[in-house]
């Protein structure tokens, strides 16, 4: 097993979590009052962990770079949250959710973790409803569900297109309750810049107050990293502008292994890039694929005519359209998992069928849905002799009620009316399955250092299914960490407060200050964004949706060179002791420039195609991903040794005892 011990409990799959909870150590309530926990990041994972740990009695300090915990990027999740409630009676169960998630992740996730996730999923919904999260309901007053990509049941709970927002506000309200009680101290506009290890254990962090610029020391008995994913290494992604890898990367440099960095999800339904000035990409919920049909023209000349504005998509006859997902994957059609849908779009666009100026867009068309819903409305409203136009209008109203906010968002950005002409979409970087390696207890390879939510690598394998990120974040925070951390903290009841005057804190603070000074004093010629954009281009072109050995090798050396150039030539205006967003960005991009290289290295070493990782050398004749279970059914956990290039690979073999490993097929 090497140095990686996953600490998965013995026993049958369905009993592991219960028996584990029964066996681990607890901290008595009086002692909890003497234990401090630091949580970095206040999205669904960090926020829920903070609320529950504080509820249990620990003293919690939370840190977020935003001006409020409520603004963490979990808020932008649209579609929904999965839970194996089987309210629809369509055959759902914990096992089926577990099975779908493992299969959706292309058999690269740890069985026991995923099963636990499925097991607590129902609890999440109960918890959220009790907190006042206003999920969508049916007229009978009960909760409504919808289906999402890659599964055959309806298990997704949602609140219009704002599920993430509602869940995060629920979680934030639970935090607020604890803030009001004095059990959580919330540090907003603070960025964690390093973790402090004392005797090999995580004992605190160094954070910068982004308003005053002050570099602060905070101590605790354990530290949780819940800082989200690293999709912004691509510069353009659907992540928030501030989303960054710094917290995760800094702990990686202090000894926490980084797992599967190359597993990145490219989301198929995003609004295409409009120009050079673009600062970020906007996603539209995958739920649109429930009713929208994806197509490109069948003939190259039609595609060309559309690109040049000579032909309108609405003028193209039905038989001249290629509904390529329905053609290639008849069983799942437009509802194939994200990685499959994204690659299929890229394949068509690379073949010259793209439909916008840059040739990087496909259509998402609701005209069939308008008619289908319209006919339904005609029959329920008992309208006789309805004209085509009338039917369409009725259908538009139904679609508007379901997806109105998304359609409006599209129109605001693109300036085209999606009720009249099909939407244009293209894949964009969205989520990172990789992250800090954690064991069953969500502890990293550093004792006392935990990672939760998108920041860890754990549950989604090589590809995440829709509506599973919210589930995982809340499961980790509400129901896993509060138990598993107790097991570790039980040994700390006699430790007492940890001094921030320890030399380890001093050393860490000195290093951070040194880095800041170096940024300011470099006085180079190029802005931070200049480097970030160049990094993003390398990543997208060579480490993006499809990868090959040559490109990856080039990427590795280009990133390394870019990193050297960055440190020589970056220009960071302003001061350290005050608000300075350029300085913040410089620190983040410096870390992305290191992560990017490890990312490419990981992608190069993984000689197979699985989930979000597609190697051109490894595909079937029809262009489907070709997995290599014999050689790569493991988690690649990288140990930092000084340079990303020198990172040491550790393997955690994945064992599937409860699931038959198959070729993932959605045909």
């Amino acid at each position: 097993m090497g140095v990686l011990d996953s600490k998965v409990p013995q026993g049958p799959l369905a009993e592991k979590w219960v028996s584990h909870k029964n066996e681990i150590n607890l901290v008595n309530p009086a002692n909890k009052r003497n234990i401090d926990v630091i949580i970095v990041g206040t999205g669904l994972a960090g926020g829920s962990a903070a609320a529950t740990l504080a509820e249990l009695g620990y003293n919690v300090k939370t840190f977020c770079y935003q001006d409020s915990p409520r603004r963490a990027h979990s808020i932008a999740a649209q579609g929904g949250i999965n839970a194996a409630k089987n309210y629809q009676g369509d055959g759902d169960s914990d096992y089926r959710l577990f099975y779908d998630t493992v299969k959706g992740g292309d058999y690269r996730a740890r069985e026991a973790n995923v099963y636990r996730l499925a097991e607590v999923s129902g609890n999440i919904i109960d918890q959220c409803v009790a907190q006042g999260v206003p999920f969508a309901r049916e007229y009978g007053g009960l909760l409504d569900n919808r289906s999402f990509g890659g599964v055959l049941v309806s298990r997704t709970f949602y609140a219009k297109g704002q599920t993430g927002q509602q869940l995060l506000l629920g979680c934030y309200s639970a935090m607020n309750r604890q803030i009001n009680r004095g059990k959580i101290k919330s540090y907003t506009r603070h960025e964690m810049l390093d973790v402090v290890l004392v005797d090999g254990k995580a004992r605190g962090i160094i954070a910068r107050n982004l308003v005053t610029g002050e570099i602060e020391r905070h101590s605790a008995h354990a530290v949780v990293i819940a800082s989200g994913g690293y999709g912004n290494v691509f510069f353009l992604s659907t992540n928030a502008m501030g989303s960054n890898v710094t917290a995760a990367w800094k702990v990686h440099k202090k000894g926490a292994f980084f797992a599967n960095p190359c597993f990145t999800q490219i989301h198929p339904t995003c609004i295409p890039v409009s120009g050079e000035h673009q600062s970020k990409l906007t996603l539209m919920s995958e739920s649109l694929r429930n009713d929208g049909r994806i197509w490109v023209p069948k003939k190259l000349e039609d595609a060309k005519a559309i690109r040049e504005g000579r032909l309108k998509p609405t003028e193209l006859a039905e038989e001249d359209r290629d509904y390529y997902l329905e053609r290639r994957y008849p069983a799942f059609g437009n509802l194939v998992p994200r990685d499959v849908a994204s690659r299929a779009a890229k394949e068509r666009c690379d073949a010259g069928f793209g439909v916008n100026k840059t040739g990087e867009a496909v259509y998402l068309d609701f005209s069939d849905a308008f008619m289908r819903y319209g006919r339904e409305a005609v029959s329920t409203q008992k309208i006789e002799n309805a004209s085509e136009e009338q039917i369409r209008e009725l259908g538009v109203a139904v679609v508007e009620a379901k997806y109105g906010n998304l359609f409006q968002m599209y129109e605001k950005i693109v300036d085209e009316n999606p009720y009249k002409t099909p939407m244009k979409i293209y894949p964009a970087v969205h989520y990172t399955m990789g992250g800090l390696w954690v064991d069953y207890n969500l502890q990293t390879t550093v004792p006392g250092l935990y990672a939760a939510g998108e920041a860890n690598f754990s549950d989604h394998g090589a590809n995440r299914l829709g509506a599973s990120a919210l589930m995982q974040g809340l499961a980790d925070g509400y129901f896993v960490l509060p138990y598993t951390m107790g097991d570790y903290l039980a040994n700390d009841i006699r430790t007492g407060p940890i001094s921030t005057d320890l030399p380890e804190f001093e050393e860490a603070e000195k290093n951070i200050r040194g880095q800041m000074e170096r940024f300011i004093n470099t006085k180079g010629t190029k802005s931070v964004d200049y480097f970030h954009k160049r990094l993003g281009k390398i990543m997208w072109d060579k480490v993006g949706m499809s990868r090959n050995a040559t490109g990856l090798k080039e990427a590795i050396s280009e990133i390394k060179a870019l990193r050297e150039e960055f440190w020589k030539d970056v220009r960071v205006p302003g001061i350290i002791d005050g608000m300075n967003p350029e300085l913040e960005k410089a620190g983040r991009v410096a870390d992305f420039l290191e992560l990017g290289e490890l990312f490419a290295k990981d992608a190069l070493h993984r000689e197979e195609s699985c989930g979000g990782h597609f190697r051109e050398e490894h595909q079937t004749e029809e262009g489907e991903a070709l997995r290599d279970d014999e050689n790569f059914m493991y988690v690649a956990a990288w140990e930092y040794t000084g340079e990303p290039a020198d990172a040491v690979l550790h393997k955690e073999d994945l064992v599937y005892e409860n699931i038959e490993v198959k070729t993932r097929s959605y045909k």
Binding site: D67, Q131, G141, L143, Y172, M241, S274, P573
Partner: protein
């Protein structure tokens, strides 16, 4: 497009600020407003000047971080959107655009266009929650049926993103729309009804402490709210508070 930008610059909370004028060329209609500011900042950095600091994060209109009073209106001239969703096609070549921070005693300026909205946090901390523990051992989610119209109304109140445009637009810098949205969400749901009285009293008390103005029902907040939060929520809070305070 070529634009004249009049932007509020202020070194820090303690310093006095003022309007500075910048000329900016090469603006495209497809750019978002914040991307236009990115271009300006890039030019400033290249010239060795300090870029304009403004709050922003998700850039898709949901996190509520971005603010800005643009030509006298929060989030600019378009409706139902945040500044990050405002596109330059709303402006014409040669326009002059005035960009200021949101102004209120309870929103002190931190730097340039960035304001401190922690007063909103404290209002929520005062009672904007339902006091259930997070054990997950609550009753089954479907054991409390909630009429769809109530659930929907609670949802619409809950879509508030806490950006502060309501305060910025209000001639009295009142935070009634924000506070009432939170109060309404909980008051409309059976789960939240139990402690509705305590909640509304505590939240209004905190709102007053923060130094927000009083509501005079001008309705500006509702018009400028990027999420279209309805004045009905304010009436509901008035009702809830009246009921709670006569008890």
């Amino acid at each position: 497009m070529n634009l004249t930008l009049k932007i509020w610059r202020q070194k820090d909370a303690a310093s006095k600020g003022g309007i500075q004028t910048y000329q900016l060329g090469g603006v495209e209609p497809d750019m978002s407003f914040l991307e236009m500011l990115d271009v300006l900042n890039q030019e400033l950095i290249d010239k060795g000047e300090e870029p304009v600091v403004f709050d922003h994060d998700c850039r898709e209109g949901i996190c509520g971080t971005c603010s800005l009073q643009i030509n006298g209106e929060p989030h600019g001239p378009d409706r139902g959107i945040t500044t990050c969703q405002l596109h330059m096609r709303m402006f014409k070549d040669g326009d002059t655009i005035t960009i200021e921070p949101f102004r209120a005693k309870a929103f002190p300026v931190i730097k340039d266009l960035v304001v401190d909205r922690s007063s909103f946090e404290r209002i929520q901390q005062a009672g904007g929650y339902i006091s259930v523990n997070t054990s997950g051992n609550t009753q089954d989610a479907n054991s409390i049926p909630i009429p769809k119209d109530k659930a929907d109304a609670a949802f619409y109140a809950a879509t508030c993103i806490g950006c502060g445009a309501c305060v910025a637009a209000c001639k009295n810098a009142s935070a009634m729309l924000f506070t009432s949205a939170k109060v309404s969400q909980m008051a409309l749901l059976p789960q939240g009804e139990v402690e509705a009285d305590r909640r509304v009293l505590a939240m209004v008390e905190q709102m007053d402490k923060e130094g927000f103005g009083n509501c005079t029902n001008t309705g500006a907040c509702e018009i400028e709210c990027p999420k279209g939060i309805s004045l009905e929520n304010i009436a509901r809070m008035n009702r809830e508070y009246l009921r709670a305070s006569v008890k």
